[in-house]
């Protein structure tokens, strides 16, 4: 749907940041990233905009999730689940102001 490319911030200049994608660097817009960012942070980018900061510990956590799934360790996986909303509620209207 939308190619998301992760990269590391090298430099920030106003609403733009120079992001290193693992060899190739490119300036991207960071005004909708929705987090405090600094050089060294990783971000997910899409169509020339950073759309998410990727916290470093989450990579480790991802591998733990893989392992938990392989080991069938439900405790470790449980916090990823949320209950479905009641069927009566209007579908996905909540986030639009």
């Amino acid at each position: 749907m939308c190619l998301g490319i992760p990269g590391e911030i090298d430099e920030i200049d106003g609403t733009e940041a120079l992001v290193d994608f693992g060899g190739a660097e490119k300036w991207v817009r960071v005004d909708i990233v929705g987090d405090q960012i600094s050089p060294g942070d990783y971000v997910l980018t899409h169509a020339g905009f950073a759309i998410r900061k990727i916290p470093e510990h989450e990579v480790e956590r991802t591998v733990e999730l893989y392992e938990a799934a392989i080991e069938d360790d439900r405790t470790s996986l449980a916090d990823r689940r949320t209950e479905p909303a009641a069927a009566a509620e209007p579908a996905h209207g909540g986030e639009q102001p």
Partner: protein, 370 residues
């Protein structure tokens, strides 16, 4: 190179692509599918998921009894033919139309933007909505950004409109919003959906909570997954387990990018500029609340307000069964045109144009039987 791009956040290349872990996840999937009563049919709604699946040959390792089908997850494919015609009309009338490379070859009712460009029209490929603004800043010509994509891509479009673009810049919005289309697919009597693999990038913007009403309404699990091959396999484990255990939960299987409430800054931009209206999804017909229209406050930058664009809304190619394929009713091989009249070199339907289109992906990557 893979759809997921370079390894993120200092992880080494194999972190998300380790063949051993892949095999272990596959084994786990197999035992879960065995545990379920019936065969399981998962629908994903993301072309990038389809690409990961195809590129890494994941279908060739899925256990019998588990099918992963593609829903309306390719924003290029679901762009209405009439929307392409609007862009074509603008380019033909002397405007510079800037758009993503993905859209160039998509057939409208009559011709594609590539054909207009080949005939001398001004059509520019940009990598970002911000690049389209830069083009406008360098010319007196009217520059129309033909914006396509789901919420992930609409948020950047919103951002440039909120940052005082030049007066000769405007947007022709074909942006769409995913969750209502999932509702339509899940509700369709001909479609069997046992669970949704939801798109990680859209959820990055809007959070996992938007999927709770879907899970509730249709009584099925919705798992938000990432785009590395292990991400997809892991998300499938969560889905199959929830189905086997009959637990219609919403699961965030992509926590390194997705949270429950999503990216608030991006949502603010998105809903400041866009509102949800009913609109055509190519092949699926009108979907309520699933088309992103520019709000009246930004009418000055709305190409539909600025220009008088007349197109024939009945020009769609009829033999193409893209809609059925994206709704999950049919597979590309069931289309009589597939691989014959309709090929990547000479596409009939949008599903054959986009690198994310199910027909294109099936034609390009094939499936190696082991």
């Amino acid at each position: 190179m893979t759809a997921g791009g370079p390894a993120d956040s200092g992880a080494d290349e194999l972190t998300f692509r380790d063949p051993e872990r892949a095999d272990a996840l596959r084994a786990r999937l197999e035992s879960l599918v065995d545990r379920a009563d019936d065969s399981i049919r998962i629908v994903h709604v993301c072309g990038t998921h389809e690409q990961t699946i195809a590129e890494f040959g994941l279908r060739s390792i899925l256990p019998d009894g588990l099918t992963v089908a593609m829903g309306p997850g390719c924003p290029v494919c679901v762009t209405d033919s009439a929307e392409v015609d609007e862009a074509v009309t603008l380019a033909e009338s002397g405007k510079l139309v800037a758009t993503y490379g993905d859209m160039l070859d998509v057939p409208g009712g009559d011709r594609s933007l590539a054909a207009v460009r080949d005939a001398g029209g001004d059509v520019e490929v940009v990598y970002s909505a911000a690049d389209a603004v830069s083009l406008a800043a360098e010319t007196d010509q009217e520059v129309v950004f033909f914006g396509v994509g789901f919420e992930t891509t609409a948020a950047p479009t919103a951002s440039v409109l909120r940052n005082d673009p030049p007066a000769n810049f405007s947007v022709l919005s074909a942006h769409k919003y995913v969750p209502p289309a999932m509702d339509v697919v899940a509700a369709h009597p001909n479609t069997r959906v046992d669970g949704f693999l939801a798109a990680g990038n859209a959820a990055t913007i809007t959070g996992t909570e938007v999927f709770e009403p879907i899970a509730g309404t249709h009584d099925l699990p919705v798992v938000v997954g990432g785009f590395e091959p292990l991400d997809v396999l892991y998300a499938l484990v969560e889905l199959v387990e929830a189905i086997a255990d009959d637990e219609p939960a919403v699961v965030n299987a992509y926590p390194r990018c997705v949270s429950a409430t999503g990216n608030q800054a991006a949502q603010t931009a998105l809903w400041d500029v866009f509102e949800r209206v009913e609109g055509e999804w190519r092949g699926i017909a009108a979907v309520p609340d699933a088309t992103l229209a520019i709000r009246p406050e930004y009418a000055a930058y709305d190409a539909r307000e600025r220009f008088d664009i007349e197109v024939d809304r009945d020009s769609e190619t009829t033999e193409c069964i893209c809609g059925d394929i994206m709704a999950g009713h049919a597979a590309p091989r069931e289309c009589p045109l597939f691989g014959e009249e309709c090929t990547p070199a000479s596409p009939v339907g949008a599903c054959m144009v986009s690198d994310e289109g199910p027909c294109r992906i099936r034609q390009t990557f094939g499936e190696v039987r082991q």
